[in-house]
Symmetry: C2
Subunit: 146 residues, 2 copies
């Protein structure tokens, strides 16, 4: 049974946010990841990065927000199933995001598979200088009641 | 120039945590992802899941902790570079994690590429019933001063 997602190829969602030191410290508490490269400025200064970098998984969280914008759009337009995250393909962190950077997470629907009730979308994080920091794909699936 | 990671194939790290409602709400604040499937119990009851599910990106955060355990082990054993996350391959969310589930994130080194200064590791999230909830690969790279 085909699933009507009410989405179109090329359709986008964006979410911009300045990532504060508090965001990074709260993310460390929730995730348990207190790597010094994220939370210890003195250590970070000794690395080739010279500053603390933001957790990659926190950036994935911003992308999760863009997928939710698209999912809610689909439901508002009348989709029958509930769109949920099925996974991610070939995520690459191209350059680090630093504390106080303002990044934009962008989600672009690339493939619509109505038979499988599934979309594949390009995901990317761009910083305030327009540099691409993270790229990959996200798979969303429309789950219908059994 | 080859990079000595001081890690071995098959080497593991684990991190277990009960994911509380507060964790999910704080993650929503940091990431901006207030999808009702994560934060609205009344909505979640109308879905095939019947309960709020934990953000996939929060689970990625627990896996980030396991990669940090392995990275710190490498540095403590004398590695010259700083191990950082290069990305993730073929992440699949196999079944949902619910609020109050106690999950274990597990990281297993699978491939050591000393020439590229890079490891590929299997990552997985297992719930308190032993069910595999998320699976994929993580790529770590040892960055040396220019």
């Amino acid at each position: 049974m085909a699933v009507e997602t009410y989405l179109e190829i090329g359709e986008q969602a964006e979410y911009s946010r300045r990532i504060s030191e508090a965001d990074v410290l709260r993310f460390a508490e929730i995730s348990g990841d207190f790597s010094p490269i994220h939370v210890d400025e003195a250590f970070a200064r000794t690395t080739p990065f010279r500053r603390r970098i933001v957790h990659g998984a926190l950036l994935m969280g911003l992308l999760s927000t863009t997928s939710t914008i698209v999912a809610e759009r689909s439901m508002r337009r009348g989709a029958k199933g509930v769109p949920v995250s099925l996974g991610y393909d070939r995520i690459r962190i191209i350059q680090p995001v630093f504390i106080d950077d303002e990044v934009t997470a962008r989600y672009t629907v690339e493939t619509l598979d109505r038979d499988a009730g599934r979309t594949i979308s390009r995901i990317e994080i761009v910083n305030q200088h327009g540099a691409l920091c993270l790229v990959g794909s996200h798979v969303m699936k429309w789950v219908t009641p059994a």
